[in-house]
Subunit: 340 residues, 6 copies
């Protein structure tokens, strides 16, 4: 059985209940979240062996975090404890024409201020067959970028499959910096997860025959972006999510997988949203599950999109669905009929 | 004035708030529900004399149940106290592509383990003019089926009108068992409430000219099922609900009433759902109200469908609407304009 | 910089959480609201100098009210303290076919029972350049109508711009009484805010070429109503909101501004509603903001409609949006994409 | 079996959760309460036939009230519907040195503005054997005092036992007015429930040999007050509660019953308070229960004090205890050991 | 390092928030609890290797249970999945003179209906050095008693230390049945945890020189009971908890350990209670921790009592304290000073 | 009228509801707090002109903070906006033997990283007559200490009275560093607020004739510490709080004021605690109020202690009491009788 190591940041997530704005709220729900932690939880919920690695301080707040992750069965045995703070972020759920907004308070966190000596990759990679990170990890700090590079080099050496969700965050770094750093990391990546927007921002890849300002990209545009990504960096697979934002309450959601030969497109779901934060990560989780389960390319992208479609109906970042639930939706039953 | 006795199971209902999944939830809302109790509450809210009969243990939890039902004005004067437990069920509200799910913990309840000697039907039926039960009651146990049969025989003897909502529950019995038992009870029923799916499952009635796997049944298909039901059992009236599950958040909802001569079809509502559990029971409640109020067949089915349409916008199983509110919707005002 | 004085009633607002009906609810959320207070808060949130004037008793409940308004930066320096009670109202949030409903308990409030001697308009109007009231204020009592008249006469004398939102409330007075009183006040008004329904009810103005019972009014009908209003009372500007009630969950929302020469129509938004109470007031707030900011007529109506569109996604009566957020929507971005 | 009619005011009660002050609170719990309604609920919970009579408006808020009372089994069959408003009051729970506070908004309520023609006492008293009111009812308005007088005269005529809890409320009337009105009503009363403070305020009765300003009244002082009350008005029984306010969190609580011959003193409980509002009413409820159950004087006062001691541990005004629970405490078990 | 296996029942626990009674409550908090599971969680929180074994059904409710236990680090690798239901219990928190009450709905649970073939003790005991159960496990059913016996025999064979908390539950079995079954199991037990009341009820052991009805047992009485227990069954150690119930809000709490030679008494704590359910189990957890950590007898009993003293300040059954926190209290600091 | 400027840190405060531990909690209440902000709010609630000055980032979270403070009437007109983050802290409410605990996440906050150029003291001090800070401000960073020093020099120059609450925080700096910095600031202080423990830790002042480890300091010990403080730094007044921690639920609370001639001791209150965080700050607020109101020394200390006694019964850091409420308690009424 494969074992997937997800490496990166984890934060406390605070959101007002329901549709209250942060300006108004006096009560917050606390959960935990992070691009890579979200993937680890998805995988654990699918029954995979998943490990999450980060650096967090040791206090009662991170005790809650540790309990949460361990509860899902995520392995934390290499977690590094130390540093000064756990990053936090505040989510305000949008509705209709009002967008969701996020306030990040992630600077100076233990993981952002971690040093290379905190991580002994030789030991960490014992028993690991797949390594996953996102573009957020190297964006946290120069040290974090170095640590990531070091991890990737060791992973390559150990023939560990590497997946990366490009995940550009404009509040963490500039497109220039992202380009420079990610260009150095991309060659180590086997499975690249992205969307056309991040491909453009981070790697300057422009979908051919598409006017991005029009808001609507043709199927050919997506395929062009994916093909260029693969050609430039030699990925084995490139997967794209395609979100259509009708409003903060209703989105369309689809995905595409490219193996260098063929493009595999999923169904396009129309979703009435409960909580869309973490949607992209649940796609990555679903995709990795499909690939390590040796699904066909079509099944893998269908599973990834169905899993992440369901995530949009689940509160908080962590996806809470089983393989069976995903397969029911993949199989075409999106009617939401009561199960009794 | 007519007095309706509803006989069957009542359970505690526990659901997480909002859209949280049971896996995640630490806070639950407690209410009470049951196929026949829901009808009794609907009727009491419409101003009818309604009695509910079951067997429940005597403790502080059922004290809450009793207060709830008595608060609506439901008569509990023949309630049997005893046995070991109140059945419970857990509801998880779905959204979009994620279906609502239900976990039942109803086995070994006082009503499921009740004996014939618990019920003195001669005394119970004093002053009663209408008797309502659902297919859930005889499914609870062999004893419950016997008790139901005994009640029906006595009802017939006393010329009490009998209505039955077929309500097949696959977790309680097989279609074979259901067929056998319900075939023995159906001859006592005057008003049969069902849908084409349960008619098929319980009585093997197949809508003519319809491919049920296609998911879309023609008007003729529904009419065929209803006609067959009536022909087989000699019902006076057959009423059908027709639900279209667009998603867990949005459904269509309509109904049909057949009096052996004509088919009366209601309007088809498109509903953005607050809570759909209890929707079918609120249809039965509305229909019985219409019939005992001597509404025309068209008005009765329109009232039943409008009442149950509104139930989908009401939290918990019990419908919370007045005759006036139902009539406003029946009259065509579904605009939801603020009333001030 | 202009300073806007909003004069009228303010109430405590109590609503059950979520979609619970008042019949069922045991927990209520308390906020504060009132046709003119809502406008003052909108303006303060847009960065304007806004004052609110009313009469309220002095107790811990109104201490909460005062803190709330002062928190937004609304000036309360002329607030009159005294009388016996704060009006209250209960809001039940509708859904789909079930309309929202409101129970008012506003009679005998301090402001309804205020006397002319409570208000020294000479002093109150110091530094004020704009005066806003709604048709609710004179409807509260004969004294309130007299006080309003007195304020208007003084405002005119001081060349203060006057805006009025007609806001007919059938539970407060009859159309006859409203017609009589409002006809006496209208001549003092510069900017009239209304809709075709209130124009009809209060002033008997019938949109030409429109059958109001059909539920759909043509663009020409709205323009006809606005033109007649302006002609009769000599307003400088007439603004209309146009709400289409698809259901209690979904509305369309648009507006129109008429300057005596041209009609300026906004975009028509389709809104999935969080809380629609206070929607009209947020339109008035947005319009006044646009006008005192010397926006073009087109921009003013676009701003007013976008601001009030967003209000429908915000809990409670007070709008919680900034100029920047309104401008983003005005600029065409209603996609609700997460901002991070 | 005796049937007790409790006549008076009922209000909505709103309190912030926990120990939040009204100034801070945004969430309120709604319950219902009133001096006489509280007694009716106590009696119904003890298994007595209890009726409550008042005048309330008809709306969804009072529908909640009606459901609540009917849930306890309180008979509302003579309830008068009409008038404009339900009185409300706001409770802030004190703690330690900070007292609980109450804001009343009860003026202009339907019951305060009721007329004599609203009540047909001949019909109301059918089947009634005991009539209970408090000093709050005649304090509501002159009409309410007249109605009470009329009820008392009819009760006397019908040989119905009358109990009255003096319950002086300084915010409703002056001691002069109270003295004048209550002196007119007292002769109709058989069982007078009071404390030494109200005896002093309403009837000017001073405990002999006691300096009331010292805060500590001797046993003889209480007995002197009770004896004077009985002598002046010819009551059959006089019952006193004796509260010692150590702090808002901790009180002592005892009672005394005088039958004209002997003084019966209860045990003195030390109570850690959950909610003390309604404590006095639960004493009256317990006492009436004891008397109609023909308990000995000692048992009656012990039952009344134990019942009301337990009320201090119960949230909201309505006492929630059974005869069995009261008897367990009367019997000496106040250890609070878990029952399992 | 030792590894402790705790075997027995686990239930869902539902309690109203705060001090609401079950009769009144509509919102419940869900947690999980059980005499042996509570011990496993205590041990895991102290950093021990702890395993919990039971039989539970497989559904989303038990998924929540599994996540909860795994979050604490409790090993569930031998958990048996199957059967029909998870036992539930309802806790109502008492206050002052009102006792806490518990409604059990544990009958027919998967563990109560488990069969011997469900458990392969040879495999289960791999790596286990300590086995813990309570008197609740054999009380669940005859099968459960047989399974327990089988486990004890295998444990003895493998020289695993056995601890047992006598924990008599009158709602599960009679004292006669308890005596019979427990007398058969006691010879396998090394460490017996009890109190004088259960020693009397289960084994008929009467503290010499003590009148148990007086409510106050002398130190000598406790010592006599413990000595008799040890003499009869040959335990290595006997530990007693001593609770003094001043009221439901305030208790005293102490413990005693007897090694056959000396009696070790802890300090006696006076506790203002947050939640006392699970208090005894947290004592067992603390004691086992002390013993496997090879604390002195005095330190072991001091640790056990301090740990369980702290449990009374923690919501829900599971104790939430660290070794460091317990040691701080053991060390004498019970002042509750803020740590900052 | 005097105007008091309070300068220092303000943080978001997050605490679980009730007595939940941080390890367990998923819901948090958000409020705002800080040693100096707490004083400003106390003063505003007493009707004083109070200004609060800090540096905070500009986002929706601080918008909530700004609304909160402005709601109390605290002047924020010199607030500096900028920097990266608002400090946060997490409070866990203790009970009985379990202490309250606090997790600080205040590092790198805007105020901790503020520069001298952020504050133009000449302008800031316009209209200010009293300046208050605590020992937390200079402890935040070296820059913060420099800024404080600069403020004090300017205050002295402008003859502004300066008060300082020593408030040693071991997690922010060492006693050595505190001694060094505070020794440089103390000469500018007129009114020094402290307790014997901080006097010892920061200034090495040992109460004569007292063994601090005994936990009980004699009256003479406190007086000795205060006298030494005054002698060393030439304060005009020294005020001490004296807390006795019986447990986390119950404390004693008193104060002492020394004017260089006489010692004025307050009453000693025994408090059952609702929330003790912010208790010391409410003492400072009360004392400053007394002093600027030109109370006698005895009245000033009595007011300060009564005000802060009441704070212990109020949720969150900000005290919520009026002058009238404090005077009622000062006047001796701590009985907590309901006010109605």
């Amino acid at each position: 059985m494969q074992k997937v190591l997800c490496f990166g940041e984890i934060m406390g997530r605070l959101n007002p209940k329901g549709h209250l704005r942060i300006k108004q709220a006096r009560e917050y729900e606390l959960s935990f979240a992070g691009g890579e932690a979200n993937v680890a939880v998805s995988l654990a919920n699918f029954g995979c062996e998943a490990e999450f690695l980060s650096k967090i301080p040791k206090n009662d707040l991170t005790e809650a975090l540790v309990r949460d992750l361990k509860g899902y069965g995520v392995d934390l045995s290499n977690m590094v404890y130390g540093g000064e703070r756990l990053g936090m972020y505040y989510v305000e759920k949008g509705a209709s024409q009002r967008p969701s907004t996020v306030i990040y308070d992630r600077k100076y966190s233990s993981i952002a201020m971690a040093k290379r000596s905190d991580f002994d990759w030789e030991k960490i990679f014992e028993g690991i067959t797949w390594f996953h990170f996102t573009g957020i990890t190297p964006a946290l700090s120069d040290d974090a970028a170095l640590i990531t590079k070091e991890a990737l080099m060791k992973a390559k050496e150990k023939k560990i499959t590497v997946s990366c969700d490009i995940n550009y965050r404009g509040k963490l770094w500039t497109t220039q910096k992202a380009n420079e750093v990610m260009t150095g990391l991309a060659p180590y990546v086997d499975v690249c997860i992205s969307n056309e927007e991040d491909a453009e921002k981070v790697f300057g890849i422009h979908p051919e025959g598409t006017d991005i300002t029009s808001g609507s990209i043709s199927k050919e545009g997506y395929e062009s972006s994916a093909r260029q990504l693969m050609e430039r960096f030699g990925f084995e697979k490139v997967a794209f999510t395609m979100r259509g934002s009708l409003s903060a309450s209703d989105n369309t959601w689809a995905g595409m997988l490219y193996d260098g030969k063929e493009f595999f497109h999923s169904k396009n779901y129309q979703i009435h949203i409960v909580d869309r934060v973490g949607g992209g990560d649940s796609f990555a989780g679903g995709l990795i599950y499909g690939l390590i389960s040796e699904y066909s390319n079509q099944d893998a992208i269908d599973f990834a999109v169905a899993a992440s479609c369901l995530k949009h109906t689940v509160e908080f970042d962590f996806n809470q669905v089983t393989v069976k639930e995903v397969k029911t939706l993949m199989g075409g039953d999106g009617s939401g009929r009561v199960q009794r």
